[in-house]
Symmetry: C2
Subunit: 331 residues, 2 copies
DNA sequence: CTGTTAGCGCTTTCAC
DNA sequence: GTGAAAGCGCTAACAG
């Protein structure tokens, strides 16, 4: 009986020896796609199981010249975006998915708005298996070389070459606005994301369309998903349109900032103004009043992007994940 | 003049050729530690610079049999701990530090309380360069083989073999309790972490000692750092000791949960009861009243653990990072 | 101090 | 379908 040396992990050579085939055959048998007879497949599989063989991802990566980690690149004006809880959540979800599917690690990068070529550079890095861009812009996506088009996925907008995985914020927005209309609100303002962020355009369009159907004019204030901007945006809105009776913020942090501003102005929520957010972060349930919001299935989205990248199933151009309305006390 | 083939990244062999030395010498010259003459060092360095050489971490990892990623293992009763914002923050900080220092990725794992041996398994994984355990228990730390003692660092308690990097929660607790005493509070309760979590023992000890000095008896309620437990803990405290005039929760989420409970009971904060948290999470500044808390320098801690692991400076047994008191409206 | 020579563990031509 | 052998790019003995 073939015994493997103690204190050394079994290698493919050990498996091959035990199965009575060459390493080449063992490699093919294990790799699903490669040509191999059914019997070889079977013998290699059992040998591997008996030995407790687990392939070495590093050696594989070196041989195939693919990388060993996934890069998560978050677009933003400053490196500060990396401290955002949203970025942390995407990273955690990606890391979990990546460690589960394959033995790959994840790294976090800032994609400066003023230097979109950084994305192209990341894709060329030898030890990066793929990159997940978060909130990319069109110029940034344009920097990914065609040769790397199956090594990039986007959480945000995509292109013909870069598949997109994102929350269906158009439907979510429509649902939320309809909820506000149904509860009697008519003068509905919206706190949007940053101007440069294309993936919120869909939400904006949905907002305009839904309001148009009910014949009410739009009221918009830009934000950047931070609480501070939410505060100033709410102030701006109530100053400019004092009769506003509902505010929908495209991010819970902004909504909570707006809540603080409204409280400061003596505006009652939801009595005077209904308030709704987006993302369903942990604190949305804890605020007073608790925040009506709509979920952002980040974990599912990140898992989708991760497996697509790792399995090279980057053909589908766009995948939208449904958001669920969470009714609480603020509306 | 030596030219490198187009469309191929320069390798160490290219650098060696251009510098007129062997690959071995080039390798040593680049590796700081290795023996190499000053002139060789210089020539190799310039050749590398001219070629735009960047070492391939995968090849290096294969040759040295070290891994290409850092594992962050979070201890907890269920896999749910991975969804905790705290875990996400630690991961993001580690990923940033790891990508900056070396080209290594990061992966996230759950360390089940009921199966502490999982930690030992992680350290034995061929492609894991090191593991950062978050909130480990003594039994878990006991499973790391002596041979892997320079491949594990802890954010929480440590052992002689596993260096510990943690916030100085003893001093932070003392400072916070003294602040409460100084503002006239005398019946101070504390919402602690989970019973099994050893690293909060230091905070507990500090609490007991500081109270003893002022002659006031302790009031303790266990928690698990979640908002839900914070709510029930606050209810328990106010039921059992109705004259409580201050509550210190060992986590902001618990504190915010407690805030909701107190509001529900009609208790005014800070009028009737002063409330303080720990961590200074983003929402702490947004609650009403805003939450007095004390910082948790997670980014610095993770960076410390990461570089210690990657540079094998795992000699110092314990490093405590200072926490800063943040005074807000809740006390 | 430096060059030569083996690997690290896996994938992939290229014949057979 | 299968085996032999040549790498992937780097580090680590081992002589000199």
């Amino acid at each position: 009986m073939v015994e493997v040396a103690r204190n050394r992990e079994p290698t493919l050579a050990d498996v091959a020896r035990r199965a009575g085939v060459s390493v080449a055959t063992a490699s093919r048998a294990l790799s699903v796609r490669g040509p191999a007879s059914a019997s070889a497949r079977h013998r290699v599989a059992t040998a591997a199981r008996e030995l407790g063989y687990v392939p070495n991802p590093v050696a594989r990566a070196l041989a195939t010249r693919t990388g060993t980690r996934l890069a998560v690149a978050v677009a933003g004006q400053t490196a500060h975006v990396l401290n955002d809880p949203y970025a942390a959540r995407v990273l955690a979800a990606t890391a979990t998915a990546a460690a589960a599917t394959r033995d790959v690690g994840v790294s976090l990068h800032w994609l400066p708005l003023h230097d979109p070529a950084e994305l192209g550079r990341l894709t060329e890095n030898r030890d990066i298996a793929g990159v997940i861009v978060v909130n990319p812009t069109t110029p940034a996506l344009a920097t990914v070389p065609r040769s790397a088009r199956d090594r990039v996925a986007s959480i945000g907008i995509g292109t013909r070459d870069v598949p997109s995985f994102d929350v269906d914020n158009a439907t979510a927005t429509t649902t939320m606005i309809e909820h506000l209309l149904a509860t009697g609100r008519r003068r509905i303002a919206m706190i949007t994301g940053p101007e440069w962020l294309p993936c919120t355009q869909r939400a904006l369009t949905a907002y305009h369309r839904t309001l148009a159907e009910s014949g009410t004019p739009p009221r918009l204030a830009p934000g950047n998903f931070t609480a501070a901007h939410g505060e100033s945006a709410a102030t701006t809105i109530m100053t400019r349109w004092p009769d506003t009776d509902a505010i929908f913020a495209l991010g819970d942090l902004s909504a909570l900032g707006a809540l603080a501003a409204l409280r400061g102005m003596g505006v009652d929520v939801p009595g005077d103004v209904a308030l709704a957010g987006f993302d369903d972060i942990a604190y949305a349930a804890l605020s007073h009043p608790s925040l009506t919001t709509t979920t952002n299935p980040v974990e599912a989205i990140a898992a989708g992007a991760t497996t697509a990248l790792l399995d090279h199933h980057t053909s589908t151009p766009q995948t939208f994940y449904p958001s669920t309305l969470i009714l609480r006390d603020s509306t």
